[in-house]
Symmetry: C2
Subunit: 358 residues, 2 copies
Amino acid sequence: MSKVHNFSAGPCILPDSVLKQAGAAALNFDGLDLSLLEISHRSRNFVAVMEKARRLVKELLGVPDGYSVLFLQGGASTQFITLPHNFLKEGGKAAYVSTGTWAKNAIKEGGLVGEIDVVASSEDKNFTYIPKGFQIPPDVDYLHFTSNNTIYGTEFHEFPETDVPIICDMSSDIFSRPIDVSKFTMIYAGAQKNMGPAGATLVIVREDALGHTGRNIPSMLDYQAHIKKESMFNTPPVFSVYVSMLTLSWLKEFGGVSEIEKANKAKAELLYNEIDNNPMFRGVVAEEDRSIMNATFVLNDSANEEEFNQMLADGRINGLKGHRSVGGYRASMYNALPLESVQFLVDIMQAFAGKHGN
Amino acid sequence: MSKVHNFSAGPCILPDSVLKQAGAAALNFDGLDLSLLEISHRSRNFVAVMEKARRLVKELLGVPDGYSVLFLQGGASTQFITLPHNFLKEGGKAAYVSTGTWAKNAIKEGGLVGEIDVVASSEDKNFTYIPKGFQIPPDVDYLHFTSNNTIYGTEFHEFPETDVPIICDMSSDIFSRPIDVSKFTMIYAGAQKNMGPAGATLVIVREDALGHTGRNIPSMLDYQAHIKKESMFNTPPVFSVYVSMLTLSWLKEFGGVSEIEKANKAKAELLYNEIDNNPMFRGVVAEEDRSIMNATFVLNDSANEEEFNQMLADGRINGLKGHRSVGGYRASMYNALPLESVQFLVDIMQAFAGKHGN
């Protein structure tokens, strides 16, 4: 049977070697004759996993001193309500950039905590571009934006320059490229794209920025409570943290974020080049804002949809369907996706054009 | 190599057959040639898993119509803050029973939302008994208690009778015995004892009890939001839900909660009988309140500690150390622990007594 090419938008493809180790640990972890799923999270063996995962995040992203790395639960959606509790002062205001569904959700939840100023939005063109040159009021408690918009296929290639604290949802492009963590007060990301399976959420937070809101924060929403307990305030999502640690180890072996960025750019260039040159397709977002992670495109003639879908199915292409809110196609090319899979897709796109006399 | 006997308090022992299926699914799930960890949670295959898990909960516990079953994230600790948002009215009051660390945490977090009336506590004797015969003010929005206290080894064998809505943290004894769900407004439980691995939290909630607090609830803390999205408001903890589904399937095969209760009682009787009759040990909690899940005991002469610990280590007994806050020993005998492991421990306890001329 031929290989499945996995373009799923998330949870998404993970390295084969990681999956093998994960499967083995579910049976016998660390030679303990016990499954990873049935040992105490306070056992020496799992504490070592948690510490290694946190260390790898610091190493791979060059996290400066004074920042804490946490593995929490509940996905980015839980951070939407947690972060304003920690950073939006009583009577204060926060600036948000609206670049899609998830950004809007963050705005909605932030609004339950305090005043939100939406300083820029691309909703006028269905989120097909990244707003630029917008003004950020100097008196806001923070600026929040989403670095990569999975659903639409747009990405911030340059981050806003401002003196206000920056908080970024990097769920779908963290670990895909180098970033300067020192420019951010907080970065967060659901694990299920470049880091691991669903069930864990990464938070990188500047410690001295915490504790200034004057709010009485519930423990599970309080970064200081989690920092104090070294990310073990309560039972962590053991398996998700373990697989994240394995994936980060794989990335380190690969050469880190600089090397993976080269590979990611090569994959994206190959596919976008095909989208631009193949007469059957067109891209849907502003060229300069195209995501390296998620390429969205549509058929020029939707009458051909069934035929193209059949070719994808025959080729065992998984997860190419666009998000239900926008339709079309979306090829997610996360870190673990090999160039070979993109080439395979491009070959199908070319064969499809050939059938139509191109 | 001899078998490891796993008395871990949680995450804890899971059935061998479940671990084998979990390991296999991490490599190839449902014959898709894809890992369970790298497919969309909205794929037909995973949606079927989520639905089966929810259905098994209903079937095993006899959940009546009008209740929803949810698999959430964040552990019981997240429910401590979520549940008062959903049930404690603006200006209202809730009654809590204080039977240990987790009950106290629930009280603390509830206090951030509204007024809490601690109607009974066993803290005067370090939580070694279950309070009984206490008064519950008829005007409270709900009564909250913890059915089994893992750390201390106490358990409610009879539930409080009251007309006020009852909310119960059943993290460490759910699925160990039959319960009458209709007597509860809400039941919740971290997965990592009798249900599955860490990372998922079960919530069973009566739908018509929701929406009456007058609060503007953040989406991730709003049971109605989760019910509306059929437990997929955001990406669920895919692997933890899957393994929970497998464990619940195993329990159904076993004969359900009535059959497992018989097995659990047999294990508990065997061990408590030894604790009571072996001159080297004594139990630490009120006999009538002893937990069927977690048996706590201490050495009569702590000078023998090193020797007994060595015998446990030689026997490959895992997880018998008492919680760091109380010391001594704790044998957790969750559903998947075989009687054979309890017999093995009893044999060691007897051999230990024999060495000391008993």
